[in-house]
């Protein structure tokens, strides 16, 4: 098969006869991801005519590899460039390049925030590189609690290391004809350039902690805290409060979410019980997980109500941490004294987390990548049924986040995978993909179809079931990796 390499934009053609002159050495495809790596090369007639400055500008640019019938078989971007001139190998790579850096440093008191033990600086950006390369981000984690030093470290990382695209000069064992070689990476890997994080999906009031309120005893049977949702609907999945048990109570703690009824808790919308086991051991942030997410309307007031499951007991009861200082502006705290709700001049310390299906999280992350020009679209073929908090602190890259969610699979335990298709659209699907007829692996490691067609598009072969030689038809494996070299297409992972 004669492949055709197409470099994005005329400026890449430059002094080289692009297209037909680029030879594809190898390319491979993996799950998850699709196009994984490729190596292309071209002889260079006169190395002196090559502008090294221009080579720098090629890093990160798009490349597609077409089959003879014009279909895109592999597509990605230039990660590494080598220029061999006699015995010298010059190299450039995107690996260390950065256009945005953020640093984090430890919270002074982790008790203040149950969700994160870190504080973050602002982003530090290199505008010229951001323009040329797009967002290529890094997160620095520092041990010292000093925001100024953290910001300085981020600036230094960006300016001192993030601008270096050169690799070590290599002395080759023998003279070679001048040649340019490019190592390419698929667009899935480009998702490793940007960090994942989500600000939405959290309603919380965390300040305070030096005051407490008792409940579960006569005169203070229940506590309730109202809260107001933001401009978007909120799919509540998890409630957090800082709680302690006094005495040796053996009952459980219930949190209810109620509608607002003229300033007091009204109709119960859902509830969750926390087992007594979790209440042993003193003050702790506790989490109530809802069996099913509760859809809360935007810009609406609700109540969370805290009560014990057993009888009131003045010697064995519970306490919850409150804030008697700054106050929560979007709600109020009340105590049920057995006959009426009484206003307290405090607010509970609480956190409410919205949840989304992992496939919805994938869709949102992919859409961010679409806005960044890395992907062209997203298609979820299978909802996972697995719910996770939407709010996420900046820690992983988008690729790492996607791979983590994919690894969780579906609620019915079927595996999930994803690939960036030939049009740059991220497709998320259940494995195996339901494309018939079954593939067959021959004894030489080549894939066949029952009617002899073996040259289907590699991206269409990934994730499909194949029958192995000598195996029963029911004993199939899933194609997870393919590699093409001059010898042809072979399976590399299943």
């Amino acid at each position: 098969m004669k492949s055709q390499v197409v470099l994005a934009g005329n400026h890449l053609q430059g002094m080289l006869q692009s297209g037909a002159d680029w030879q594809v050495q190898s390319m491979d495809w993996r799950l998850p991801g699709g196009s994984n790596e490729a190596v292309i090369s071209t002889p260079v007639q006169d190395p002196n005519a090559i502008s090294l400055r221009m080579i720098h500008s090629w890093l990160g640019q798009a490349v597609s590899i077409h089959n003879p019938a014009g279909e895109i078989m592999w597509h990605g971007w230039i990660e590494e460039i080598h220029l061999d001139v006699q015995r010298l190998r010059f190299g450039w790579t995107t690996q260390k390049l950065l256009s945005r850096v953020i640093a984090r440093y430890p919270q002074a008191s982790p008790l203040l925030d149950p969700l994160s033990s870190w504080l973050y600086t602002d982003w530090v950006e290199h505008l010229e590189r951001l323009e040329q390369l797009g967002a290529k981000e890094a997160l620095l984690s520092l041990r010292e609690v000093d925001p100024n030093k953290a910001r300085h470290a981020a600036v230094m990382q960006l300016l001192q290391q993030g601008l270096d695209d050169s690799q070590m000069l290599v002395l080759l064992p023998q003279k070679r004809a001048p040649q340019l070689t490019m190592r390419l990476k698929g667009y899935w890997h480009r998702l490793d350039w940007t960090l994942d994080g989500e600000d939405s999906g959290l309603i919380a009031h965390l300040p305070g902690g030096k005051s407490q309120q008792s409940f579960g005893l006569s005169g203070s049977e229940r506590l309730a805290q109202s809260f107001t949702t933001g401009a978007e609907a909120f799919s509540l999945g998890q409630i957090g409060l800082r709680i302690a048990m006094l005495g040796a109570a053996s009952d459980e703690l219930r949190v209810k979410i109620c509608a607002d009824n003229a300033g007091v808790p009204g109709t119960e919308l859902t509830s969750s019980l926390l087992s007594n086991v979790y209440l042993q051991g003193g003050w702790r942030w506790q989490a109530w997980l809802l069996d099913a997410p509760l859809a809360l309307n935007a810009n609406t007031r609700y109540w969370l109500v805290l009560e014990r499951s057993g009888a009131l007991d003045t010697s064995q009861y519970y306490e919850v941490e409150t804030d008697d200082g700054r106050g929560y502006p979007d709600g109020e705290c009340k105590r049920w004294n057995g006959s009426s709700w009484l206003l307290l001049n405090q607010d509970l310390r609480f956190s409410l987390m919205a949840v989304s299906e992992t496939t919805e999280l994938m869709r949102e992350v992919a859409q961010q990548a679409v806005q960044g020009g890395v992907l062209q679209g997203v298609q979820i073929w299978q909802e996972s049924g697995v719910w996770l908090p939407r709010w996420r602190e900046v820690e992983k890259t988008r690729k790492e986040a996607l791979e983590e969610w994919l690894a969780l699979g579906c609620a019915d335990e079927s595996p999930l995978s994803a690939l960036v298709n030939a049009d740059g659209v991220l497709e998320v699907f259940r494995l195996p993909r339901q494309i018939e007829p079954l593939l067959q692996l021959d004894a030489e490691g080549r894939l066949r179809l029952p009617y002899g067609i073996a040259d289907a598009h590699p991206l269409d072969l990934l994730g499909r079931r194949m029958v192995l030689p000598l195996m029963e038809a029911e004993q199939t494996q899933v194609v997870r990796g393919l590699r093409w070299t001059g010898e042809g297409l072979e399976i590399v992972d299943s």
Partner: protein, 437 residues
Amino acid sequence: MKRLAIKINQDEFVFHGSGSALALRGCQRHPSQRLPSGLSLEKLDLILQGTATQTRALISQLQMLVERTRLGHSTWLVLQPDDSPEVYQSCVYAVDFNWILGSVQAKGIGIRLELQRQDFWQLPWQALALNNSHGSAVTDGLQIDNRADGAGQNWCWITGEGLLGDLPAAVRLQLQHDLNPAESLDQIILGWGSAVSTPLAVLEGESADSLLNFGVVMNSSCHAGAYGLVQWDNPDAIRVLSWVLPGAAFAGMAGRQVRPLVRLVNPGGLRPETWLSWKLYNGSLVFQSGTQLLSLERELQLLPMICLPALSNADVPWSDLRLELYAHNRNAGTTHLALDAVFLFFTDGWRQFAALPDGELAFGQTLIDAVDQEQPYIHLAQTQKNQHAYQGIGNGLWLLPGEDHVLQILVDAGTSMPLDMNYHIQLEYQPRRRMLP
């Protein structure tokens, strides 16, 4: 061998035949040898007899020839085998020479010249005779339409009889946008079939079968005067249309691939995120394609490739095939797919011209493409200048001597695919031969 020379740019050095150097008394060709690089090693033994000055001048010329080739000057070995006017040439990539051991001045100095050249010989560009409903054996521009119904023909054919050479030869295309001033061309797609003389029949939307809510809409601005409209609201992958393809039409096509191009009516009205795929049945399911997301911005769109079964049909024809079009849209609501026609393009050769940013082929301009030489370019007739506007994709059009060929073309003007668009094409080829006497 009547004449043998090497040509660098406009300069010629003749080894044998008219115009050879004074001191050159003989030239002997050895059988060429195939190199691992894919090139051919051509060995020439030259006999020099003359004065010391003449010999020195000749050797100096040879040395210059070596250096100019090394510097990348365009170098050709030119051979006229016999008295016929055909002159073949082969591109030379490297030249070297040395003394032949044992040769002495009295009898003449022997020099062994070694050239690394293309492993074939080719003739100059020659026009191909094209045929369709607009003309027979036309070499100076044949009209091609943007439809394949009773009102036009988007294809032409070339008879294999009389084609020269014994190797596949690259074809040069000239597409002259000279008939229809109303629109500039944007996307241009060419399919090329070898050993065939007619294209596969167009699958008309209105002729499809469907188990869904399906109707035929008569519309004179559509291909064959009507289109098929199918509607569904099922969020699963669902068969929306199917056609029966006569097995006899696929004679000799076992194991080959065809690329469908669809013309949609009002793609902007399509529900977003509609994906299409194919299933092909020949008795049982023989092929299922990947899925393709439909664009809302183009009437003319490429659909996933269809791989034909490998069961040989050269002697005994296949029974009829059933081609099913599946659609998948997971969004809530009803999808309306208005399909005018599906053109099945051969893929023995393929060329697709995607307009670069702000690129187009305007009226009066000519697109020229020779796949193995350079990127396509546009020739401006008024100013006699060239410019670049297109990216060429695909392995190009290759002519197999002795075989009939079909060229299919469809173009669009961006969003729309005007069926009344037409233009002229010319094809040329350079006949190639592996060996010359």
